[in-house]
């Protein structure tokens, strides 16, 4: 147990982080290409139409993975922000900062694909349904978080502010996940994936969906690692430039 904990905190050292991630990034890229292309081709071309929704069910292979990531990236940011506030590890702060634009794109994509899917199935692009509303608020929190980093220069105070914003926003991320259960109303259905096999969608849709989700998760990990590396290098460059100019 002690060894395990020690290993996790090794990532807090930027040198260790760069050394380890340099080795694993090519594997992430290969896994992303394989799982995402297989999942999308399987889902689009080799699954049947749903008996109620027709072929529009094929939107599930982009809508569910992006919505899943939109919520879980925010939770990842929540955890790394808490680590920053408690232990002051810069890599964890950089991880949250680097993940935010990816989370924003995933949230936007989930809302867009949901609206496109909603028109033929619900008869409307948008409704103030609990899940849709909490998702739009989550999008606002992503925009707010990114804006803080885009408009202000790095300081511990700004890092704390962004971390607190992230912690407050995590309530809406939680609401986005459980909104359907909290308020038993609205147009949005319950979870498409569940640990309970009875609640799951049919296997014929389930396995390509699982593959697509794995593909999107690997895509997120690849982009995250590259963005963290870039951010660490950018900070090093800024330090070198500032010490070189004095």
């Amino acid at each position: 147990m002690i060894k395990y904990r020690k290993n996790i905190w090794e990532f807090a050292n930027p040198n260790n982080f760069l050394r380890i991630t340099d080795k694993i990034t090519p594997f992430f890229i290969i896994l992303t290409i394989i799982t995402l292309s297989t999942g999308i081709i399987w889902g689009l071309f080799f699954t049947p139409e749903d008996y109620r929704q027709g072929s529009s069910v094929k939107i599930i292979y982009v809508h569910v993975p992006t919505a899943f990531l939109a919520i879980n990236i925010y939770f990842m940011m929540f955890v790394t922000s808490v680590i920053w506030l408690i232990r002051r590890h810069h890599v964890s702060l950089i991880a949250a900062k680097s993940a935010a634009p990816i989370g924003f794109i995933m949230t936007l994509s989930a809302i867009l694909t949901g609206a496109i899917w909603g028109k033929p199935i619900w008869g409307t692009y948008w409704a103030w349904d609990p899940r849709l509303t909490s998702f739009s608020i989550l999008l606002m929190f992503y925009i707010g978080y990114i804006s803080i980093w885009q408009t202000m220069k790095f300081s511990d105070k700004i890092a704390d502010l962004s971390s607190w914003l992230c912690i407050i926003g995590s309530i809406f991320a939680l609401m986005s996940r459980y909104a359907v259960f909290f308020w038993d109303q609205g147009l949005h259905q319950g979870a498409s994936l569940s640990l309970d096999k009875k609640e799951n969608i049919d296997d014929i849709f389930y396995f390509p969906l699982l593959l697509c989700m794995a593909g999107f998760v690997f895509l997120f990990l690849t982009l995250l690692v590259i963005r963290i590396k870039t951010e660490i290098q950018k900070r090093r460059l800024n330090i070198l430039l500032s010490t070189g100019n004095t």
Binding site: I40, L44, F45, E49, G54, S55, S56, K58, I59, V62, H63, T66, P101, I102, I105, L108, S109, L112, T113, I116, W117, K119, P120, L219, L223, I226, R227, K229, T230, Q233, K234, R236, L237, L240, L241, G244, N245, T246
Partner: protein, 58 residues
């Protein structure tokens, strides 16, 4: 046609196109940003080492 998914072809194509366009923007911006920072860092490291010594002595 290979991209004919029946009644909801347009909706399906719009969903996939919008998602992958957004992801492409993210991938390209991540790649370009990483290249730029790497290039700047290499440029700084390959600069005449006397420059930094000079500035430090100042």
């Amino acid at each position: 046609m290979i991209l004919d998914f029946g009644k909801y072809s347009l909706e399906i194509l719009f969903s996939y196109l919008s998602t992958f366009s957004l992801i492409l923007i993210l991938v390209i911006s991540t790649y370009l940003n990483s290249k730029k920072v790497k290039k700047d860092l290499d440029k700084f490291k390959n600069k005449d080492p006397n420059d930094s010594k000079k500035s430090q002595s100042i």
